[in-house]
């Protein structure tokens, strides 16, 4: 998958002016996020339920190596084959090798973020094996050759007319229609045929249960179940943090994931695979491969702050409330993961140097942290990335900031610790700032702060700061007696 994280501003400035996408984005906090709140209310104690999910994910991060080994043992025992991929390239090669050994011309796929991260579709296509996304939204995004707009609704921003034209051109829909049911039916006809002849199905994994060696997928379209039941060979790909300790933990996380993802008490389909089809069983794949992808995560694991990002369960709850995401949509984030989830994960996986805007384009409002069922503290992680970037941290590939900024903060730091210097700074700055005053208001400052002044004014710097007026004020209010002016 093409990495476009360095052109965040360019894409965001374009997308923020996309009226169609904005219409949908504007409704997100009101509709989707609200529905989440309502459905969370179906827990006897929603706060406790969220805290429970957070502690499960905390345990996962704390015990990750153990849990992975336990999962491997139990999955092997049930007949699954486990492949460990160090990085995206290795994971893609594993899929390619399995596909070539089985001489398949195409694969069907369930929606999976880790395969986006790996760039699996491109790797398959380059080797002459056609990948077919089978989640309707992902299918549309794939046919349009666009990255996912939203983790849950990858093509939710695409106007229906565009889908109509696409289906006429690409999948042989017979007559033009904008009826969603008919469009869905056209995609279904096309994909059913693919499923019917599929020899190899690829899916992601929502949870991998260490205790039982089971992999779990949640979905609403039934396509993942097809991917797992129809082909002879199933490849399920997971990043290392998808493991959970017990089946009871998984059950709780399923309830949280569904609520935070789509505002459902539970998704329409939940499928669990403990190994391939057993003797006497009527469905399931004959062989099941589980590829466990590291792709830089063990390196992150060594960092006690950054590793907390691995709590994320990809529900997308953070997107629906993010005041930035709900203005610019998913494209500016430039890679597989968008919104606060992506702002936390992408810098770790790609390096702080290539993802500068992801951890800076944030007001630290904390709406994401508040809803997160996994306990990711996004704002604290962003602050950490910023500090590691300033330090030029090697491990996280910090870039260091421009020299003038470092100087400025160096000077600022000295002044903040010495009030005489601080107050001198105020006296020097005041006339420089206030020469732009027009009628007591500043509406531009030459070339400075052009972004701010595009839409906002600034009050002038006080002719008398609080510091300067304090003594007079103190005498005045003290003279008023113990009850002051009241």
């Amino acid at each position: 998958m093409e990495i476009r994280t360095t052109i965040f501003n360019e894409v965001a400035e374009r997308e923020i002016r996309n009226p169609y996408a904005r219409l949908f984005l504007k409704a997100m906090p009101a509709v989707i996020a609200k529905r989440r709140t309502v459905v969370m209310g179906s827990f006897p104690d929603p706060v406790a339920a969220q805290a429970c999910g957070q502690s499960i994910r905390a345990e996962v991060v704390a015990r990750l190596p153990d849990l992975l080994e336990q999962f491997e043992r139990n999955a092997l025992e049930r007949g699954a084959k486990i492949l460990w991929a160090r990085d995206a390239r290795e994971a893609c090669e594993m899929v390619l090798a399995l596909a070539k050994e089985r001489d398949v011309s195409y694969v069907t796929k369930g929606k999976s973020m880790v395969t986006e991260e790996m760039g699996l579709n491109d790797a398959l296509a380059d080797s002459g094996i056609e990948p077919f996304e089978t989640d309707l939204g992902e299918f549309i995004a794939q046919q349009l050759r666009r990255p996912p707009f939203h983790i849950v609704g990858p093509a939710i921003n695409v106007p229906v007319e565009e889908v109509r034209d696409l289906f006429m051109e690409k999948i042989g829909m017979e007559k033009p229609t904008t009826d969603p049911v008919e469009l869905g039916y056209a995609a279904r006809l096309f994909l059913r045929d693919k499923f019917h002849h599929a020899a190899l199905g690829v899916t992601g994994v929502n949870m991998a249960v260490a205790e039982t060696g089971t992999i779990i997928n949640l979905e609403n379209e039934g396509n993942i179940r097809f991917n797992k039941a129809s082909p002879r060979t199933q490849i399920s790909i997971m990043s290392i943090e998808k493991v959970v300790p017990t089946m009871a933990d998984a059950m709780h996380l399923i309830r949280l994931l569904s609520r935070n993802c789509t505002g459902q008490a539970i998704s329409a389909y939940v499928s669990m695979d403990s190994g391939p089809k057993g003797a006497g069983e009527i469905d399931g794949p004959e062989e099941l491969f589980i590829i466990i992808v590291d792709n830089g995560r063990s390196r992150i694991y060594a960092d006690p702050v950054a590793r907390e990002a691995l709590r994320c369960i990809r529900c997308g709850g953070c997107l629906n409330l993010c005041p930035v995401y709900t203005k610019i949509g998913g494209y500016p984030y430039g890679w597989a993961y968008s919104g606060p989830m992506g702002q936390v994960l992408t810098p770790l996986l790609l390096g702080l140097d290539r993802t500068q805007d992801l951890y800076r384009a944030c007001t630290l409002c904390g709406a994401c942290r508040e809803v997160c069922p996994a306990g990711v503290d996004h704002p604290s992680i962003f602050l950490y990335y910023r500090s590691k970037d300033v330090e030029g941290d090697r491990g996280l590939r910090g870039k260091r900031r421009p020299w003038w900024e470092s100087r400025l903060f160096g000077l600022w730091g000295r002044a903040a610790a010495h009030s005489a210097l601080w107050n001198l700074g105020v006296r020097v700055a005041r006339p420089l700032v206030n020469r732009y005053s027009r009628g007591g208001v500043i509406s531009r400052m030459g070339g400075f702060f052009q972004g701010w002044f595009r839409s906002r004014n600034l009050p002038v710097m006080a002719e008398e700061t609080f510091h300067e007026r304090w003594r007079r004020l103190r005498d005045e209010i003290s003279a008023g007696g113990p009850k002051g002016e009241a």
Binding site: I16, L383, R401, A415, R456, P459, M461, R474, S478, A486
Partner: protein, 250 residues
């Protein structure tokens, strides 16, 4: 939590934005406290809490500011500030910044237990809701992120508003949605920030309120600055000014 005694003293922490751009908020804070029988003190050696450096990733510089703050305020029983984000900085980030220096960490933790946002102090510590304020008209309230989610303060300012003589509280749609300030965010990502503050102001207009009250100087610069440019007839006011009755919009 309620401190009894002949005359309460609180130490004022006046955030740099207030000191430099909105000193009347500091003045209003002092006057309101005085009206409630509390003697405000002001350490003239105070500077900035360090938030700008912290948010920009300059932790060494933020740590300098934190140590200076602790030196200045370390001896105070109660510190009150008309800014939730500065209080959050002291409460949540100082212990983090100083976690490797045990002596400083202990002092940071002490200070962090003694600092309050203004409305929080009045309602939770003093136990007062009617401060003798008055305003004729409808008032709505913007839930600043650091006050709502950082300090868990939301009811307190609304109760203070409701108790003001003549004021009718009306809800603000999406009150808890960020206004788009975020310090350097407002400059560096101005095109996003602008859409956020625009939406905030649209919601304010939709609320039908005569006045928007908030507790955070940063939000006031942002929302007030946008109003001043685009809707000069509408006002946003800091809670301290509202309670003191010394009206002047941002």
């Amino acid at each position: 939590m309620i401190h009894r005694g002949p005359m309460k003293h609180v130490s004022l922490f006046i955030p740099c934005l207030v000191d430099l751009f909105l000193p009347e908020i500091g003045e209003a804070t002092a006057r309101v406290l005085r009206r409630l029988g509390v003697e405000p003190l002001y350490h003239e050696a105070q500077t900035c809490c360090g938030q700008p450096a912290m948010n920009a990733g300059y932790r060494d510089q933020a740590r300098n500011a934190a140590k200076h703050f602790i030196d200045v305020f370390g001896g105070d029983d109660i510190i009150v500030s008309p800014s939730g984000s500065c209080v959050c900085m002291v409460k949540h980030h100082y212990p983090l910044l100083l976690c490797d220096e045990p002596v400083w960490l202990r002092r940071a933790e002490e200070v962090s237990e003694r600092i309050f946002e203004l409305s929080q102090y009045i309602v939770d510590v003093l136990g007062i809701e009617d401060v003798g304020a008055s305003f004729q008209g409808t008032v709505t309230y913007h839930e600043s992120c650091h006050i709502l989610r950082g300090l868990g303060v939301s009811d307190q300012p609304k109760r203070l508003i409701q108790k003001a003589d003549g004021a009718t509280f009306v809800p603000l749609p999406f009150a808890e949605m960020c206004c788009g300030f975020g310090g350097e965010f407002a400059e560096n990502y101005h095109y996003i920030s602008e859409e956020m503050v625009k939406e905030k102001v649209e919601n304010y207009l939709e609320s039908g309120a005569d006045l928007l009250v908030l507790c955070e100087p940063g939000c006031l610069l942002n929302i007030g600055g946008y109003l001043s440019r685009n809707h000069p007839e509408k006002k946003a006011l800091h809670i301290a000014s509202f309670l003191a009755g010394t009206e002047r919009g941002g």
